[in-house]
Structures are given as C-alpha cells and as structure tokens.
C-alpha cells in the first residue's frame, strides 16, 4: 500500500471547508460541527426524502422508481403542500442525516448516515438496503468490508450506518494521481462524496464539480463524453455520475477503480 500522507486530518478539514463554502452558495445545506472539545469535528447535512412505490412530481420525471427521489431541500411549505401526482400507497417522509468524518486509522473520510421517520422511529438496515440501487447492492454484498454496517458514531456515540472505509484509498488514489497528471485541482471530498454518496441516496449537484475545478478553460475533459450502450443496465443510473466523470473534476480513469467498477465495461470510458 502506497504511503498516502497526503490526506491528513488538516487536509480533510481544508477540503470540507471549501466544500461547505460552495454548499452555502447554492443552499445545499452542508455545515461543519466541531466536537465539544473542539479538537476535531465533522461535516453534516440533513435532508428529507419521500419514500414510496410510486412517483412524486418532480421536475417532470415520472418513472416508477424504487429508489429515493429528493424533494425540495428546504421543507418550508408544510407537508400537505407537497405535490404528489400519483399515490396508491401513503407517502412517508424520511429524515436523512449524513455525516462526513475523518478516520485517522485509514486516513480517509468516512460517510456515516442514519434515517428516521418524522415521528422518530429509526429506519432499520433492511429499510436502508431497499433504497440502495441494485447495481450498488451487488458490489456492496460481495466484500464483507465494502458494505454498510451499523456502527457507533465516534463523536456522538450513537448508532449510525457506515460505508466501510478500508477500500476508499484504493479507489481514490487513481483519481488523485490523474488529477496531478492533468494538472487539475481536485477537491478530495467532492470527488469522494460524489462516488459513495449516490449508493445511499446522497446526490451532489453538478455545480460542485465546476466549483472544485480551477481550470475551466481546458476542453480536454468535456470532449470525451461518449454515448453509452443503452442495454447496459447500470448506465442510466450512472449517467449523472458520468457527467461528473467527464468534467474537469474527475478523469474517466476513476471508474476503473470505483467500488462498482467490476460491474462496468471499462472499455466504454477510455
């Protein structure tokens, strides 16, 4: 394993600060919370999602999807004002909390999350699994340590679900190496979160990508967008992710190493 002193705790905090700056600009809801003794802290976001078996009116999409669809971020209008086009089953609103902490043992960021209904009832692991898309499920089930488990939050001491961090370094190294090669500035947190977040219902608006890159004049990345084989089942899900991949933010090479890589035909993305 290559020495990766590069991603120390100070670096982590720096990238989180940059990430939060952009989040504040676009109202994405991320904030920093320091621990009581202020020696460290974490980045967190709370948002609400509607979980049901049918569609919710949202920007014109009307496909039947099992996965979570985001509702407008600020839940200012009372819940009964939510527009629902079709409801055969009662819609349930779920509160998601995402925390990004630093692991000094693995020297990488770690994603902790928990979900509960509005009445406080927590979601069980099996409910969480239902929201994970099929393509991610397969890969997550293969490795005992690449999976979602319940763990104690190292700062709050409460039960959270965690994506195990031991493979993070493996799929992040090519991203960083490539960014050095093509002389781009990459926000480690943005890249990492854009890869692991979607597996658990956390999506990043694309503007993070353009914010992270400080060299928008270079066309090299943009031109490489390819049409995808439409029979490839995972393609539709990854399409938003691929926009990120093709942007100056991330080189296509990362997909070979992403934890879902063995589900992809990597020749598509050379």
């Amino acid at each position: 394993m290559e020495e990766n002193e590069f991603f120390g705790e100070k670096t982590f905090q720096h990238y989180c600060a940059e990430f939060i700056k952009h989040s504040q600009k676009i109202g994405d809801g991320w904030e920093w919370r320091a621990s009581k003794d202020c020696s460290d802290g974490y980045m967190c976001k709370t948002h609400f999602q509607v979980k049901n078996g049918t569609a919710v009116s949202h920007q014109g999409t009307s496909a039947h999807v099992q996965t979570f669809l985001p509702v407008e971020e600020a839940l200012d209008p009372p819940l009964d004002d939510l527009e629902v086009t079709e409801t055969t089953t009662a819609a349930e609103v779920i509160k998601y909390e995402y925390h990004v902490l630093y692991s000094c043992s693995y020297q990488v960021p770690v994603l902790y999350f928990r979900a509960s209904f509005l009445d406080g009832r927590p979601l069980a692991l099996k409910d969480i699994w239902e929201g994970v898309h099929e393509c991610y499920k397969m890969r997550l089930l293969q490795g005992p340590w690449d999976t979602i488990t319940q763990q104690e939050h190292p700062i709050l001491g409460q039960p959270f679900f965690v994506l195990h961090p031991c493979k993070t370094s493996e799929f992040m190294t090519p991203v960083l190496k490539n960014s050095q090669k093509i002389n781009r500035n990459v926000n480690y947190i943005t890249s990492w979160l854009s890869m692991v977040g979607p597996a658990v219902g956390l999506n990043l608006p694309l503007s993070y990508a353009t914010a992270a890159s400080q060299d928008e004049g270079n066309v090299g990345g943009q031109g490489k967008k390819r049409s995808l084989c439409s029979t490839f089942p995972v393609a539709k899900i990854l399409e938003p992710l691929l926009h990120l991949a093709m942007s100056p933010l991330l080189a296509p090479a990362f997909i070979k190493s992403a934890f879902i890589s063995d589900r992809l035909d990597t020749d598509l993305f050379v």
């Binding site: 394993m1 621990s35 009581k36 003794d37 000094c104 043992s105 693995y106 009832r121 927590p122 069980a124 692991l125 005992p144 340590w145 488990t149 319940q150 763990q151 104690e152 190292p154 700062i155 709050l156 001491g157 409460q158 039960p159 195990h164 031991c166």
Partner: protein, 300 residues
C-alpha cells in the same frame, strides 16, 4: 514477549462474577430466578450470554420476546464494547457481583447497535482487529493472512482458546527488528466524564529523537487530565490488546489493568504468578473490586 506470557494469560482469563436479573416489567409466566455467570473480560456480552437468554426465555411467552439487551443502573450496555471495559467504566467501584438487568422489549434504538446474530459480533471484532493493524502495520499483516487465520482468531475468542487465538495474534503483535515498534499505537481511551465515546488519535511509539514513548507520554498528549506511570510503550503494547485500556472516572484515572502496579511495581507479573502458585485451595475470596480473579473464583 515470552516473559509476558503470564500477563497475557492474566488478561485473557480475567473474569467478572455477574448476576443477571430480569427487568421487573417483563411479562413472565412464573417468577424468574437470577442467573449467575463468570463473564470473560475480553469477550462481548452477546457472545457469552446464550445461557442467560435461554434461562429467562423459559419463563416467558414467545410473543413477549424480542431482541435481548442489557442494562446497568439505567445505562444500556453497549455489547460491542469488551465486557471488561464496560465493567471498569461503569461498575468497578461497586461491590461484586456485577448486577446486570436483562430486557427483552423496548430496545433502545438511539443508544445501542443491533446484534441480530453472532456474525455481526464477528464482523465487529474483525473490523477492530483490522483497524488496529492499519495503524500498526498499514494493514500489511492482516491482509497477508488467509481467511482461515482470520477465522481462527475469531474462533479462539468465541471458544475461549488462548493458544488458538495467540497463534495468530502474535503475528499481529510483531514488528521488524529495525523498527522500535509499530507504526502507530492502536489505543482508545474511554472515560465516563466525556461526551464523546472515546479518544483515539495517531501516536507513535518512538519519538523523533529515538526515545521510547511511555504510557505517560501518551496520556499527557491525548488526555492531559489523566496521570500515568512511567512504563515504556513497546512493553505495554506487546501484550496489551488495544482495547484493554479503560480509564475510570473514579479515583486516579489510571487504566484499571495498571492499578495493581501502583502498589507492586513492574515486577507484578512474576510476583502475581508466584502468589497464585502459593495460594491454598479453598481460600475465601474477598469481594473487592479491581482484584484479579484466580481459579478459585470459578466455583462462584
């Protein structure tokens, strides 16, 4: 490390006499007697309490039983903490036996992790071992092991097999001759006085000028409110599994394992072994907290 074999065995075979009582609001068909058990300090509650569960379920109806959980004086007990740690943290200043209350309903979702099967305990244990090796050896030793070695480590713990466990664990406790110790010391400091569950930071066993760090140096740097003895770190780490340092809010804040050292000094391991050899059978055991237990206690 062979000199420390006595200490290794003392740590492994440490036991806590415990009395399990069913929570008074649980619904039973007849009265439930308390259940007594000697708990291994190095193991986990949900791994060693099958008999406890069976005992109480005998007097309950199936529909009144859901996931078992344990509580001490109102505090839900985190099964994923080693038993010795829980005791040291919460009950070490109380008289023995340790009185634990057993629950079968109203699982405290906000406080406790679920433990639906033994596999979950194994996964948690292996995850801790793996994390410790990430700190000690950049995960090289654990990753080079075969699956069967990982399994042996777990089975050794599950079946209380000291030799089976240490046959594998000794590899995780070695470091190259040219180094003076591990890359970083895997440690966690638990205190009841703090909100965060534990303190864990990067800490090297050797300083930049080649001096061996002591336990005191570690505590001074990461937990200045504690006081510590002057014991060199490599000696500490060669036999102390990472999670056996538990700092109690009572008294001196010394890790509980080390309290005896205050009186007897570093030669305790040989002295302790000699004391045990000299102790006559049937000797009355005093119910004094923090005392090390002997084979005689097994008749409890």
């Amino acid at each position: 490390m062979t000199d420390d074999k006595d200490v290794l065995r003392d740590v492994w075979f440490g036991r806590i006499p415990t009395c399990f009582t069913l929570y008074q609001d649980e619904i039973t068909e007849r009265e439930a007697e308390p259940y007594y058990l000697l708990l291994p300090r190095v193991s986990y509650l949900t791994l060693v309490t099958d008999k406890v569960k069976k005992h109480f379920q005998k007097v309950m109806r199936q529909e009144d039983i859901s996931e078992i959980w344990f509580e001490y004086e109102g505090t839900p007990l985190k099964w994923h903490y080693p038993i010795g740690l829980l005791f040291d943290l919460l009950a070490s200043s109380s008289a023995l036996p340790w009185n634990i209350t057993v629950h079968f309903k109203s699982f405290p979702e906000k406080d406790l992790l679920h433990c639906p099967s033994k596999d979950v305990i194994e996964a948690h244990f292996m995850s801790c071992v793996k994390e410790a090796d990430a700190l000690k050896h950049k995960s090289q030793v654990i990753n080079e092991m075969q699956k069967k070695d990982h399994k042996q480590l777990w089975m050794g713990l599950q079946n209380d097999r000291f030799d089976q466990f240490w046959a594998i664990n000794r590899k995780l406790m070695e470091y190259p001759a040219e180094e003076n110790g591990f890359r970083y010391i895997p440690f966690r400091i638990y205190q009841t006085t703090t909100e965060r569950p534990f303190i864990q930071k990067l800490f090297r066993p050797v300083s930049t000028d080649g001096q061996l760090h002591t336990l005191g140096d570690l505590l001074k740097e990461v937990c200045p409110s504690a006081v510590a003895p002057e014991v060199p770190m490599p000696e500490v780490c060669s036999w102390l599994p990472t999670w056996l340092l538990a700092s109690s809010a009572e008294g001196s804040h010394l890790p509980s394992l080390w309290r005896d050292w205050e009186e007897d000094g570093p030669r305790l391991s040989q002295q302790g072994a000699e004391n045990r050899r000299n102790q006559s059978p049937g000797t009355e055991t005093r119910a004094v907290p923090k005392r090390r237990f002997t084979e005689e206690d097994r008749r409890f």
